[in-house]
């Protein structure tokens, strides 16, 4: 599927090489990155059932959004996939391997930028590589180019304290991409920034995804965001978290934010909202 995506010619490289090929060398490359979640239940200590028998799958290179009101366990779902917390029942496999602990082939982005205040934007972006055994000049250059790509030109050596919330989240996005993996897990990544910045960051995320074609799972309570970015939208209901419906997003790629103005898009959002409000009895009205 992703072979039909945009195929920018590599500067100076083989003209026929697609983005997909360049990031996944080798014949078996297309098999990287599927996520299979089956029958997953998560009960927290104290008896709160956050997720109840949830199953879904994401194909390699697919972008799946999970929407739902607060308390539907969508963030918990991501943490389970990331291996940060243990599940109560069911199985989760990423890249064909069962998830038992945090893994190096999965990258997670948080609601807050969680940048280290004593490191520059560049150093923060390069952190994953630093933890994997040191930053060489090439890595530094990679991080530098990524920050430029994300609109942080001129701020590479600035410390987080002197960056705006949106800029900090861009650095966090650069750090996520520096992990260099096939599976991106995004936990309401732009929830903490203002609406306009958020829309702009979504466009950048869209751009980044369409270039890399990693398998991505985005958790959000913003339906427009979910539909704009994803190939499939999973609508969840709260307490306990269950999948209410899965909506296929029929639009091709690359996508532009103007897509949101189209009628078909609006209808899709409408039906997702409908579904959300139907299963919304458990919302505590906060």
């Amino acid at each position: 599927m992703h072979d039909h995506g945009p195929a920018p010619a590599e500067p100076g490289g083989g003209a026929a090489a697609t983005v997909t090929d360049s990031r996944r060398p080798g014949p078996a490359s297309a098999e990287h990155g599927p996520i299979i979640v089956s029958g997953v239940t998560k009960e927290f200590e104290g008896g709160v059932v956050a997720l109840d028998d949830v199953s879904f799958a994401a194909a390699p290179g697919e972008f799946v959004s999970i929407v739902g009101p607060s308390g539907c366990g969508k963030s918990t779902m991501l943490r389970l996939i990331a291996g940060l917390i243990p599940r109560s029942a069911g199985t989760i496999a990423v890249n064909g391997r069962e998830v038992t602990k945090p893994r190096q082939d999965v990258a997670l982005m948080f609601q807050r930028p969680t940048l280290l205040p004593w490191k520059t934007a560049l150093q923060n972006a390069a952190l994953p590589r630093e933890l994997q055994g040191g930053v060489d000049r090439a890595t530094e250059r990679e991080a530098y180019d990524l920050l430029n790509l994300l609109g942080l030109e001129g701020f590479e050596h600035t410390y987080p304290r002197h960056l705006s919330g949106g800029m900090q989240q861009r650095v966090a996005l650069a750090r996520l991409l520096m992990v260099g993996v096939d599976v991106l897990l995004l936990d309401e990544p732009f929830a903490a920034v203002d609406q306009i910045t958020r829309e702009r960051l979504n466009v950048e995320l869209l751009d980044v995804y369409e270039r890399t074609r990693a398998t991505a799972v985005l958790v959000t309570h913003n339906i427009t965001e979910a539909v704009l970015l994803a190939d499939r939208v999973i609508v969840m209901t709260p307490r306990p978290g269950r999948i209410a419906e899965t909506l296929r997003v029929p639009f091709g790629r690359p996508r532009a934010p103007e897509l949101a103005k189209e009628r078909e898009f609006q209808e899709l959002i409408f039906s997702a909202r409908e579904r959300l409000e139907h299963g919304d009895h458990g919302e505590d009205g906060r």
Partner: protein, 315 residues
């Protein structure tokens, strides 16, 4: 140009920081002068300000005082280093291991609630009249704030940041060196600043009890002789010593915990940018020494970026 602006800003800060306390000082000295000349207080109890100044000048120009200044300074600094070193050395395992923390907890609290000065006579009995006993007393009372603050800093590391490190597959050692230790530095320094003052107290109290040299001994002797002006002059020396030590800690804090100080951050950013630019120039990077040339088409940069960050890293 930037330098001069920074200088002017510092000048403004200095004026703001120095002027109001100076006004208060003039007022207090005038009041003091008045209290003595109007005989609200007897001159035997409270000497005139100029007597204190004369005594101070006589003391610092005499040769004998410097031996005492050195003794107190030495005891304080070494005591502080020992106490703070132990505090940090015990706080780190306590921060990393719950068992260790629980094990030390009752003792740490007991040490905190005990008036630690009360141990001074015993320490003198053990270690004698020399420097060692004062160093031990200073170390004992300087230990606690460093231990508690370092521990607090280590166990209050942001939970999201911890989770981020876990998701990146960081080892325990890496989480410690890259996250917990730097995160705890600001709080640790608050403890160190308290501890340096406490170490000075410890040294002086030790000297009160029994000593062969030191400002504490001197102040005691002057008081016995009712040389109140001289005693005040020694007190002034102790204050100056305390300020010097505190200032030194502040200076170290500004260097170590640079990310809490805007001016330091700006300077460091600029230095890093320059160094990175040099490195690019040295490796013949296409962007050149500036590091930020605007002429390049963004589209190309983007594509290049894609290639770079999408290169799959084999495990």
């Amino acid at each position: 140009m930037r330098g001069s602006r920074a200088l002017r800003a510092t000048g403004r800060g200095l004026r703001f920081a120095v002027l109001p306390p100076l006004i208060l000082l003039v007022f207090l000295i005038a009041l003091w002068e008045l209290a003595v000349t109007q005989e609200w207080v007897s001159e035997v109890t409270l000497p005139q300000p100029e007597d204190v100044v004369t005594s101070f000048a006589d003391l610092v120009t005499s040769d004998i005082i410097w031996n005492d200044v050195w003794a107190t300074f030495y005891e304080t600094v070494v005591g502080f280093l020992v106490g703070a070193g132990l505090g940090i050395a015990l706080a780190i395992p306590s921060g990393l291991s719950n068992t260790m923390r629980q094990m030390l907890r009752p003792y740490a609290i007991s040490l905190q609630v005990t008036p630690r000065i009360a141990i001074a006579p015993i320490v003198i009995a053990w270690f004698g009249f020399g420097y060692t006993s004062k160093i031990v007393i200073a170390a004992i009372i300087a230990f606690f704030p460093v231990y508690v603050n370092t521990l607090t800093g280590m166990i209050t590391v942001d939970e999201d940041e911890r989770e981020m490190f876990r998701s990146l597959g960081a080892s325990r050692a890496q989480t410690f060196t890259h996250l917990m230790l730097p995160s705890s530095l600001p709080v640790m320094f608050a403890g160190l600043k308290t501890a340096i003052g406490l170490a000075l107290i410890g040294a002086v109290v030790g000297e009160f009890i029994s000593a062969q040299a030191g400002l504490g001994l001197l102040i005691q002797q002057f008081s016995y002789q009712l040389a109140v002006a001289d005693a005040f002059a020694v007190l002034l020396i102790l204050t100056l010593m305390g300020l010097l030590l505190y200032g030194l800690m502040e200076f170290l804090e500004r260097i170590t915990v640079f990310w809490l100080h805007d001016s330091r951050l700006v300077a460091k950013s600029r230095r890093r940018a320059a160094r990175y630019g040099d490195r690019l120039a040295a490796t013949g990077g296409p962007r050149g020494a500036g590091g930020k040339q605007r002429g390049e088409p963004p589209a190309l940069e983007g594509r290049e970026g894609t290639r770079v960050y999408s290169a799959r890293r084999e495990e």
